[in-house]
Symmetry: C2
Subunit: 201 residues, 2 copies
DNA sequence: TCCTGTAGCATACAGACTGTATGTACGCAT
DNA sequence: ATGCGTACATACAGTCTGTATGCTACAGGA
């Protein structure tokens, strides 16, 4: 009992983030009323505007959270990899798994670039999702050197392809089959792009 | 003088689309006030709500226009191609050129999926931009048969990569250099994905 | 322990914007 | 000429965001 003020501060902020994430995920940013968010958090809009400068700032904080969580999952998934190439594959699978969360798709992939602006979104993604991808690409290129491939363009081309794949997955009628086909096609893409075989697979 | 009513109808609608496209491109959908759009068109909001059900319907009509224009340019660019593979390359160049237009990036690539919903956007894109890409991919696969490649996943993976490339191009400091590097990397990607040499591999 | 300041919210208010309802003038067919 | 529907303009209501102000309980110094 008798929570200290600094504890309460963190608790309230976290609750606003939680409920904001939930409402943003289901309704989308534009149709998410701040009144609904604070009501679900058992607060009023006064609390929201005390903790965040405006609605957009709350959204950006949610985006940061989502991005961080996804990057953590991807990093963790790549750890047990036998090779850099396997690490890239495992990371890719972890990314697609993370996109099972509606917040990852609606908030992070769809609304964020529009609400925050593409430039700002790219900056955030560059510190999280795309960073993990860049690390994977660099590792593969260290393992399979290829002068023709520039890491940076390769990274964002793959990033775009992966984001699109994640969205497309949830439009398919048979999700399991679609997932297998995507996994297969991504593996093929990686193999052909980075060189079919290199000291065995 | 004395324009007939049916002429006036088309003229007014076209003007709303013109000004809407301009305002949406610069301000973004959310910050584009309908009042500003109709003022630039020399009208009032009554005219807008007569021609379109709501603001979103106007935006969707603009998106359709932009999508159609882009697809037309891509189709036209691919005509003089010597081979299906060249057609794909020429088409991608035309796409990147079309994305010099801010409306193509802000309206079509960034705002449209968020405002119209990803599903609706995918449907529109499927009839225009992605359709041209699919045609190109199918032609290349007819030219260079490859049982391992499924046309549909390959198409949207490439679509995602291309959209990302188009956005990234305009973040680069030296746009000309970035463009050359992207062209080179896309060509490399196509060659390796579809098989480096003719009916070989 | 008491007193005071301020953090952490709640409440009240103003402005902006969308969508709708209503008004109106002009063209066009009869 | 006259009645009617199209193509707008005008007026209004509802919703939402952001801000300004009010209130209360706790923290910290004397």
């Amino acid at each position: 009992m008798a929570r200290t003020k600094v504890e309460q501060h963190a608790l309230t902020r976290a609750e606003l983030l939680r409920q904001g994430r939930q409402i943003f995920s289901t309704a989308g940013y534009a149709d998410a009323a701040t009144e609904d968010i604070v009501r679900q958090a058992g607060l009023t809009r006064g609390a929201l505007y005390y903790h965040f400068r405006d609605k957009r700032a709350l959204f950006e904080a949610v985006v940061e959270d989502v991005a961080r969580e996804m990057a953590d999952k991807i990093d963790a998934a790549a750890i047990p990899a036998k090779s850099a190439f396997d690490g890239l594959v495992l990371g890719t699978h972890a990314f697609l798994d993370a996109c099972l969360d509606p917040a990852a798709r609606r908030v992070y992939l769809v609304d964020a670039p529009s609400v925050l602006g593409w430039h700002r979104w790219r900056e955030i993604d560059g510190r999280h999702g795309m960073r993990t991808l860049r690390v994977g690409v660099d590792a593969v290129l260290a393992e399979r050197p290829d002068r023709a491939l520039s890491p940076e363009p390769v990274t964002y081309l793959l990033s775009g392809a992966l984001n699109e794949a994640a969205m497309w997955l949830h439009e398919a009628k048979d999700e399991a089959t679609a997932r297998r086909e995507i996994d297969r096609m991504l593996l093929l893409l990686f193999e052909r792009l980075f060189g079919g075989r290199r000291k065995g697979r």
